[in-house]
Symmetry: D2
Subunit: 463 residues, 4 copies
């Protein structure tokens, strides 16, 4: 027997391979499929089935690629959409994987066609539920993605799926969802890597309800939807997706100097935030490596070629993360890095960084400073905020609804100082000059016991 | 959060590392501890606690080694025994691992002092039970190891632990036992790698009982106890165990030729069974690599130095497996293998192999042949047996209770042909000459639809 | 500066990458080109030139593949042939690699167009000669490959290249040839991995001559030409060669059982010779892994699909070795090996093995036995031979010139017992039944001080 | 045959393993000896001899460690010194390594006892000279290390060794020295990784002489001697050196905060120079990773424990580099890095960085600025220098001979901006406040065509 959860970090996406007696099934594969092939072959298994629990909005599916390298049949839950491949799935349909039965359970809500798959133990006891985006540890699937207008309706559909199909299963069923903590497909997914229905019933805040109405009120939420979801939806419909390659091409200092001037190129800097602060190439977009899966889809363009600024040893990983988001437009990387850039006398730019105590001093001096806080409202509620700060969540930083003053020094705060640097790089590109990021962010501020106010109060004050 | 199950294959031993917010705990560590250190350090964790659920009989514990390389405190459940290290554990005692509580639950039965450890989720819901050898997927801990005489009594103790402590937990609690399928610490452990209390309640055959009496009757079983358990028990009491090293020293053909003549040396051949059959050095003990964890402790001596015959690329793994069983007496390996041995004109020995159809022909010819079946009674019950065959389970092959005729050709059968080769190598060392092993064993026999009889019937016939 | 010799073991093929200041050149690349790309990129180099010293007969060139993945220009020495790609090379042409000059020196002889490339040190001193197949450690290029009839003429051409172009260089020039010890492109290449012109002048036996006539007499030799050379010559002319992939597909026991019956399939067994001897699938061709590069091109067909019998862990390496020889016709591998084959009750075949002392006894008994010695004449001259043995070099074993008796037991001897197994597998396919191979071969025979006679004497005796 | 050059990067130290027919010799091993054992064992070789060409001043020898793990005999050239281990070597003494002879040739000069070892090819031709520190590519061994006063005398001794022993060998002999480009054991070692006597005769500038007098004048040079050489000399005399371990212990933010206040601790920051510039812990010593082998021995104390600030993935490499220099006093590393440091609100420090164009502007403004150039005189001669700059080579930066003004902004220049950061970190520790480093250094300056003056002229101007 082979049972393996494959976690794509950053995306916090889980796929699964299960095999027995020569036959294997893969559930919700990602685009870089080597790991499924290797796992199967090492265990003398052939991948015969690939199942998709639902339309994936946040990554490029690997099901067609897997089918290309094996003789596997692909089954897709959301075939009501315009998919060019895959077979449909029916309630109760089952696949025999060696000694084990895997049964389809229709669980719409997150999407119109969502299915969960219930694996039975050899003696037919319900064992594992591959729940896709229907239920995750500590969270439920978003119901606002089919259409914001239909959110309530989809939430009711989800209610029915849960109440009629999933909650009746015995408490010991192990829940294997398509996403873990950190995914944009859920707002509150728990770190709890292994969970069961019994645990979810007891601890999942979204399952604490008495009536359908209460459930809908609680869960019919509209969350941010990264612009790249649209691209994923399109790409995933296609039968012939580009195969994934990891290799990236080196570019010389002169090549990067030239290309970076062109409109159809974008520089993506994936070094540490401190390196970026000390020196970066003018106009670069900053995202730290672990943040790529969450933020590249918000701030990079599919229409411009990407030039990477990062260490050689990180290239393949970075290319892989971008590839999972469908960014195949990576032209190359600056082969000698900023070191080569400077050695050849090229100019670079920097962004000031401050320790919290220095920020505090500046504020006390009542200088011409402003605090820009780019955390989400949840974080603000949990950790408090600094008095008189401007709140704009990072993903909305380029929208012009709230004015950021241009005649003051802007200190950018986030939780720890990483997202601040994304914000700083983006604001600089739009013309801001006097920007600084705060090292350690609110975490440092709170560790140093500097004063915060509650979210509500200040809003009142402001009014 | 870090949560990782570390499986020692062969032994089918599970250890666990769990960490949060800089602190980690390791449960039931094995002797080669690199993996715990690396996992912890990669995740910015310090191992502060090492917990032993019970006295381990089947492998050398790594708790003292871990303590040597960290500042960890060791806690041991079975401190009523003469352990030279570790602190005792009390019912309800708990350890704070970052945001999570880990609580001790006294669950004697497998040993007198056995504890299970219950990890609570951040919101205090019962989440994971590290159940040691008290409960495993599809099985319960053996109760015959404290003392055969006390088996019933220990089974009753186990009953109480289960009924009072474990079964009352909610069904969704995930069970993380110290052993998986293949371990000698349980007779029927299931392949089910992840399980929950709810699943065990429904499927674990040993939990299907109505009365205490029925439970005891069912579970008070005496199983084979490998002789090396005694060594493990002794070794594990010691505070200062030898540190583990993987390196093995090459020996030339001439050195091996000389040493293999000495009484205090034993040759262990770990190549494929086909290679062994074609040519091996006289007097070698054969065990295939994946069988080492199960059979080395039965047939190797701690008092003789081991000379390995195997491929260079397998050396470190083999040394590690032996080391986990406390075999530190590996002198070296035949550096050029049988190839070098033959090239220098040394003599080798062989063991005949037969396909099942050829065995069938020989039997039909009523030749002077005898079938020796070395499978366990469970296997015989499940797969049937060949008429008129002699049954001696492999681990009893060197005992002289049942006579194997010396004037006939002995065809050795096991399930697939691997254990047969162990038996053949052992019998040859005791003087048997006309031995052959059957390729594919009973599995081949049954695949070929050759006739088998049920176990009971033949016994009746024999009587 | 980057200077790296890349050895393809088995083939004993050397390729080179040299780079400086951002620019790299690759000389005589093989087909699996990852290593060149990685070496270049890690060192911040772009591969700008790919040079071929001559037409390669023994492996598939990677120059077009490299050009596909880089912007490199390909230059080919033998463009007088019908190559579909590459630019020609002129005497004295040079390429600037950072601070270093690489200069073309026309050195025909091995082929009509062969060039050597002389790398100058930064201060312009002659430093390294990439000598292709013109000069190797202890050997010179074969002159019989252009056409057997032109051997003398090509040897004279080679003489001129050496005397006019290479020998006049200073003695300290380091010689970097395209092949090392074990290559079929030279009969006597030395193990000396690094050499210089001065060392070759002193020790290379083929350079010990006084007159042109003596040189030609000594070196105009016709050697065996493996049949696959023809395929290589054809393939290498093509611009669009298939890209190389390492992955091989698992096949079940039943699939292999079916496919192995078909005429357009061939079973290639690459396990140890002992495993093959104990059990193999009827009709398999045996070649041990390290022997593949030398013998696959003799005994495998490009027109039949290959089914591999080998360990999973060796698959990628074996596929790579076959791929370098242009064998892209690998269908898959028997995923559970002979173990699975037997378990499902399939029949297997075996080949007897003997220790030399047993062979000796048989010979003494004047039984109905015959010795077949498959070593080359060089080996026979060096190591002696057994009286009354039949000599047929392995590569001629399937030719019907010399009769092997079919009514006797044939003991096959080679140097150590590996090639014998190839011979045995081939003879068995043609109907021989009573074949045995001798473990340790002549080496064991001589180690055991059994009598040998000199080659000449016996020939005399025979006459 | 096995012949392998093992390069310890950074140190630019070469050691060698050569083996044939079961026997291997290692020449000048480093302290982390795994690679010798693995190479030997993989090739079925036993290391029987370990040879030291001379007393090593720049790294900890691994000869005693190797002897501990094998049965090898150690032979040491400089046994006139107080070595506690090893056997002496005599002129002409030879070791048989399989088919090959290795012969000792006395070549004093670099040290009093230095030997070179001449490997003969199987047919007894001189093949490879392991020349230790006597002759390197483009350089000769330093003659000032025995004693500065004896430099001339040792240079004459070296002259005799060369003229009588080495230069008479044939030009084709391949030279395998103990050091490559970048070593502190030679001032001008060439990048030429493989060389021969003929090439050295033609290109090695130190071998271009007509008379002994000229040779001595040219080569009797006194170079900087890093203070750690003394420690190496002491350590290498000992028989019982500490075995090397790679593991480093994680330290929490609070632990580092406490320990860094103590006198017997030193913080070593091995991140990129840009990260250091943006934020570092007060009082840290900066050295970039590739610079460690050259500069750790100048600026770190053996008497203080080291706390590392670096990425987790680099730890083992950094620990290895430090270990080769005998720095076993590594206490641990800041496990969450500066990210964790800031998150907990700890203060950090920074160092300003400037592009060359900005420096130029500042200079033009005739502001209160000073340029500190820390390059060596060779570099200054080759690349020119900036007018009115202060010259202090990095290794003398903490000596108080030349005054650096404290009332001005100091712009530190080196070749590319890496060494400047070392200098900046050191000067800051002594109290300097207004320090900046110039990104790209002189290389950027020259790429930008800013004016430089020749070394001599300005000196004249100054006078």
């Amino acid at each position: 027997m082979l049972f393996k959860k494959i976690i794509s970090e950053g995306l916090a996406h889980n796929s699964y391979i299960f095999g027995s007696q020569g036959t294997a099934v893969v559930i919700d594969p990602r685009r870089d499929i080597e790991i499924y092939l290797e796992s199967a072959y090492e265990n003398d298994l052939k991948i015969q089935y690939v199942l998709e629990t639902h339309r994936h909005e946040d990554f490029v599916s690997g099901s067609t690629e897997l089918a290309k390298h094996t003789d596997a049949e692909v089954f897709h839950a959301d075939l009501q959409l315009d998919y060019q491949y895959g077979k449909g799935i029916k309630e109760g349909q089952s696949w025999l994987i060696g000694d084990y039965d895997l049964e389809a359970i229709s669980t719409p809500g997150h999407t119109t066609g969502s299915f969960s798959f219930l694996l039975k133990d050899a003696d037919k006891t319900d064992w594992i539920l591959f729940s896709g985006d229907t239920m995750m540890a500590g969270d439920l699937g978003r119901t606002d993605l089919v259409s914001e207008k239909l959110t309530k309706q989809m939430t009711e559909t989800l209610y029915n799926s849960l109440v009629k199909k999933i909650l009746p299963l015995h408490d010991g069923v192990i829940i294997c969802p398509a996403h873990g903590s950190g995914s944009v497909c859920g707002s509150d997914i728990s770190e709890r890597e292994w969970t069961s229905l019994g645990i979810e019933k007891r601890t999942n805040p979204k399952l604490q309800f008495k009536t359908k109405k209460e459930f809908i009120k609680k869960n019919a939420t509209i969350l941010d939807k990264p612009p790249y979801f649209k691209k994923m939806e399109e790409l995933n419909l296609r039968k012939n997706k580009k195969s994934f390659t990891k290799r990236v091409i080196p570019l010389s200092v002169d090549e990067v100097a030239k290309l970076s001037q062109k409109d159809d190129y974008q520089l993506l800097d994936v070094r540490s935030n401190l390196e970026f602060s000390a020196a970066h190439i003018e106009n670069s977009i900053y995202i730290w490596e672990e943040g790529l899966a969450s933020f590249a889809g918000w701030f990079l363009s599919y229409d411009k070629k990407i030039i990477l600024i990062c260490e050689y040893s990180r290239l393949e990983t970075i290319k892989t993360i971008l590839g999972r988001l469908g960014f195949d437009n990576v032209k190359g990387y600056l082969s000698e890095g900023l070191f080569g850039w400077h050695r050849e006398g090229k100019k670079s730019s920097n962004i000031a960084t401050y320790n919290v105590n220095m920020v505090c001093e500046k504020l006390d001096q009542k200088n011409n400073v402003e605090i820009l806080d780019i955390r989400d409202s949840d974080e603000i509620n949990n950790e408090g905020k600094i008095k008189n700060s401007i709140q704009i969540p990072l993903v909305h930083i380029l929208e012009n609804k709230i004015k950021i003053p241009t005649d003051k020094t802007i200190f950018i705060f986030c939780g720890t100082g990483l997202r601040s640097m994304i914000a700083a790089s983006l604001l600089k590109r739009t013309g801001f000059k006097d920007i600084a990021i705060v090292l350690g962010g609110l975490s440092a501020w709170n560790s140093s016991k500097f004063p915060v106010c509650e979210n509500v109060n200040e809003n009142n004050e402001k009014e």
